[in-house]
């Protein structure tokens, strides 16, 4: 088997790609997808650690993370839909109505 560190390093790189995506993209949907990338990096680290220790608890926690990701994606897309109807724009820089 390969060392578990490689998989954890892959998860780290994926997490940072997601973080950079949230920082540099202005499209709200792409930002949401970058958050999904970061969640997937966490899932990958959990699965690798669970397999490394021979412990099944990590995989059950991954199931809960998937549930939370599904709920988060649906609520986020509903918010984006509503904001698009109001502003005709999915640009995150234009959403300033909650600022003041």
């Amino acid at each position: 088997m390969i060392p578990v560190d490689w998989i954890l390093l892959l998860a780290t790189v994926l997490f940072c790609i997601g973080g950079i995506g949230v920082a540099i993209r202005r499209n709200a949907i792409v930002a949401l997808m970058s958050i999904e990338l970061m969640l997937n990096a966490g899932i990958l680290a959990l699965v690798a650690s669970a397999a490394h220790h021979g412990d099944l608890n990590g995989q059950v926690v991954v199931l809960f993370i998937m549930m939370i990701a599904a709920a988060e994606a649906s609520v986020g897309l509903a918010i984006i839909t509503t904001a698009f109807r109001k502003h005709s724009e999915v640009d995150l820089d234009q959403y300033s109505s909650l600022k003041w």
Partner: protein, 165 residues
């Protein structure tokens, strides 16, 4: 085995970069689907067969289709003009690389050998989910109910005249 991991890791990283770098949102979604499939293949090698299947069904099947529906129904697939400042982009890159270095350096301690154990079957996960994790499992049902109600209320088009809200 290292060759397989190399192929999978390259696919994951390239498609992850494709998610954040492609101009059109639909291409981002397709790259993300490729990334999710590669991760599912990686789970199969990590004794997580049930998780691999659930990952493909839930993520690539349900969540990504939801994203695609929103983009295609609302006609959002227009190329984005990236006029954010160069300074912000370079600083995001620097922060990301340094984050990789910091987290990667904590992995420097040598890890032990793999515990080889058959695991990840539906039977084993199901027993654990309904005994030890029964409270979080039920709570996630409540979470989903709240999410459903929130989505319906948030995304509902208000009636033009005489609404009872």
């Amino acid at each position: 085995m290292p060759v397989f991991f190399g192929i999978i890791a390259t696919t994951i990283i390239l498609s992850g970069l494709g998610v954040i770098l492609s101009k059109r949102p639909v291409y981002s979604i397709l790259s993300l689907i490729i990334c999710l499939y590669a991760m599912g293949a990686l789970y199969l090698t990590l004794h997580a067969e049930f998780l691999a299947i659930v990952h493909l069904i839930v993520y690539a099947g349900a969540i990504m289709v939801l994203f695609l529906f929103v983009i295609m129904l609302m006609n959002l697939d227009r190329p984005e003009h990236l006029n954010r400042s160069r300074l912000l982009q370079w600083s995001a890159l620097a922060v990301g690389i340094s984050l990789v270095l910091v987290i990667g350096s904590t992995l420097y301690t040598p890890s032990g050998p793999w515990v080889v154990a058959p695991m990840g079957s539906v039977h084993a996960i199901g027993r654990l989910l309904f005994s030890k994790f029964i409270v979080p499992f039920e709570l996630s049902a409540v979470l989903f109910l709240a999410a459903i109600v929130g989505v319906v209320i948030t995304a509902k088009v208000p009636h033009p005249e005489g609404d009872t809200e």
